[in-house]
């Protein structure tokens, strides 16, 4: 018989090792799945994990890696603060959209004026838009004890409706021959979020993502506020006793995660996406939730998890086109990764005991 036994203190060794174990288990289980589908499992795994970084066309995919990982990391860092404090912002996608709309609107308002101040103004507007959108569930929770999970999630659909109306209405390109979507920022240098080093994918959003990682790391390990965030999540009564103001903490966590999601939206819409269109958002706000947990809500973990997630996306697309794997198989593969990660997480707090233990 196998029994689980709680460890007196969480194991540091297993906290570090479990993500690698999970990736390994995913490769094995995924490989079996690919083999059943009649594909060469080794080729499939290599296509997903190896080719995007070291393969023939890696020069293109490597930049894609940063483009995709940047917003995921930026959003996930913000979410992780809330998740640690027990504040569940599920609506990052909505804050991402609203941030993008606000930032883009500021940029488009100045068109065609050229000034180095325009892009910073867009960044501020983007962050502010996401912040304010996240304040809705925040204030409702503090004032009326509503559930932030539901409110923030439902506001995603409101944001999508606003996005559609903006892309078809107020922000529509006047010179666009009636096509939906705003002007393309590629043709507006002052507002375009260009690669800082050409063809690396390294745009301002990626820079902000790295800054966010460092900021979160310092906050959580060195600052009273980070301590209070952890405390409130682990032991709410102890937090109150320790002088934490729960309302202020809720607003802080939602505000920061909303702001970072809004920034991610702005950097995406003014860079890789290029314009406000009905469907420029591709679900980064939701995927970032997975990234946050994949990274154990730890800033460095999130950095790695964001890169890994981006890799499976790019590698997955590659496997679809090169090996003819069905899209569903790739999604199942990504699902396995999360599944194994959460499953092996048990080993951090518990140890396995085999057989019936007799009297010690």
């Amino acid at each position: 018989m196998i029994a689980l036994e709680k460890r007196p203190t969480p194991s540091r060794f297993w906290t570090g090792i479990t993500p690698f174990l999970a990736v390994l288990a995913t490769m094995i289980a995924g490989g079996i799945m690919f083999a059943i589908l009649g594909k060469d499992p080794f080729a499939a795994i290599r296509t997903i994990f190896w080719d995007p970084v070291f393969g023939e066309f890696a020069f293109y995919y490597r930049s894609q890696l940063l483009v995709k990982a940047g917003p995921l990391i930026l959003i996930a860092i913000g979410l992780s603060l809330g998740f640690r404090a027990g504040v569940w912002n599920i609506g990052a996608e909505g804050q991402y959209i609203i941030g993008a709309i606000c930032g883009a609107a500021v940029g488009l308002a100045f068109y065609p004026t050229e000034s180095f101040l325009i892009f910073p103004a867009m960044v501020i507007a983007g962050g502010l838009g996401g912040f304010l959108w996240a304040m809705i569930p925040g204030i409702l929770k503090v004032k009326f004890q509503t559930n932030e999970i539901l409110v923030s999630l439902l506001l995603v659909y409101v944001a999508e409706a606003i996005l559609a109306s903006m892309a078809l209405g107020a922000l529509k390109n006047p010179d666009g021959a009636g096509f939906p979507g705003s002007r393309n920022f590629r043709s507006y240098p002052s507002a375009y979020n260009e690669d800082l080093i050409a063809n690396t994918g390294m745009h301002w959003g990626v820079v902000f993502a790295f800054i966010a990682v460092i900021f979160a790391y310092i906050l959580l390990s060195r600052h009273m506020l980070g301590f209070q965030i952890k405390l409130a999540g682990q032991a709410p009564r102890a937090a109150r006793f320790g002088g934490v103001n729960p309302d202020r903490l809720i607003l802080f966590c939602l505000g920061v995660s909303g702001m970072l999601a809004g920034l991610a939206g702005l950097f995406e819409v003014s860079g890789p996406a290029g314009q406000v269109s009905i469907d420029f958002n591709v679900g980064y706000g939701f995927t970032a939730i997975i990234v946050a947990f994949l990274g154990r809500l730890h800033p460095i973990g999130i950095l790695l998890a964001g890169l890994l997630m981006a890799l499976t996306y790019i590698g997955g697309e590659l496997a679809q086109s090169n090996l003819g794997l069905p899209a569903a198989a790739i999604q199942a593969f990504q699902g396995m990764l999360l599944f194994f990660l959460l499953a092996v997480d048990v080993l951090t707090n518990y140890r396995l005991r085999f057989g019936n233990r007799e009297v010690a």
Binding site: A235, G242, G243, V359, A360
Partner: protein, 503 residues
Amino acid sequence: MNALLDLDGLTKAYPGVVANDDVSFSIQEGEVHALLGENGAGKSTLVKMIYGLVKPDSGTMQLRGSSFAPPEPRAARASGVAMVFQHFSLFEALDVAENIALGMENPPAMRELAARITEVSQNYGLPLDPSRLVGELSAGERQRVEIIRCLLQNPKLLIMDEPTSVLTPQEVEILFKTLETLKSEGTSILYISHKLEEIRRLCDSATILRLGKKVATCNPREETAKAMAEMMVGSTLHQPERKPHKTQEVALQLHDLTLPAQSAFGTTLKNISFSVQKGEILGIGGVAGNGQDELTAALSGEALSDAGAIEMHGKPIGQMGPNARREIGLLAAPEERLGHAAAPDMSLIENALLTGDIRKGLSRRGFLNWPKAKAFAENVIAEFDVRTPGPGNAARALSGGNLQKFVIGREILQAPEVLVINQPTWGVDAAAAADIRQALLDLAANGAALVVISQDLDELMEISDRFAALNEGRLTEPVPAFGLSVEQIGLMMGGAHDLEAVQ
């Protein structure tokens, strides 16, 4: 007398701890047998084996000479073993008779059952009205429901787990009369407690457990309480010393503090007024659930009240939060150690930071000074003899007594001017409890004002200068603790609930 129940070599191990190690003793017919031991000595595991809740790893039991190994409580009840648990399992929204019917295998018609309940309650002097809702009953009355539920089965052996911890002294008297009646009818009682005076009064023999092993079986009437306590603890007990201290200056004052209940199960505090002087210990007694947690929260700053309702050194502080109160020297230690006074999964360093930041200066402009926090935690560990491998260990890895020493030490080493403590020695072994009480007395001797809220009356009588009792959210007028009789204390705590309800 013949043995009713023989236990032979009972052993039960859990991962990392042997709860019972080769325990053997017998309970005679018609005797009250005490099972005595500190928290964690293995008393609960032992009675769970007798009641069929836990299967022994090895060892045998014999009931009246025939083998007895109940696979489940139902089998134990069928053999005539009944148990009153420390925590009641009653439905508040149902009345007494309905609750009792729910626990029976074949309940009779309600009218008949009600008549039997009334009959049993009168025979054994346990006043109880079968038609009252359990939600309206006091803890003592709820216990009577559980006892009568057991008595309706005509048990041969009645097991009682810490029955007096929820009772006022008057209610204890009623209970003891009942137990003596039962005994005279030939029912054996296994009485679990760590209150030595009670055991000396009530019990014919006592088995003492320490760390899972049987230490001795003795006649409690022939032993002194001190001797039994030392058998229980395994070492000589240190009696707290009180240094005389003269006081005049008022440190903390409450004027008509009224605070509505924060939750549906909370207690409303009503017009609480008292003052504590420097160097004084005010003991606040009362049966659990009469506003102890609420009063602690109102004093610690977790619950805010009218500004003027609480004054410290003459300044209104009712609207100040916990950290603002810490700044002016008002510290607190709540009852619940894990999850309230300390964060279970955090290290002792982080838990030192939990309340120590303000007075110990563990952060600067919000940035944490980890080395200083670690030094503070180490200081608490050293000064208060907290047994732990190191300050990096999680709070939940500590035993209850050690964590309590850490929690109390953390507040005392911050040099409080006023310290509020709820249940300072709850679930703490006798040696650690003596250390904690001594630390509180020393703190008062150095000029701090203390409010000690406790359900342990012996403890309050030992350390308090004045005593008051909480009863349904009201506080009695504090009176000098010295020379207070048990009757007076009982009346302050609310006396016996509805003594005349049935008579």
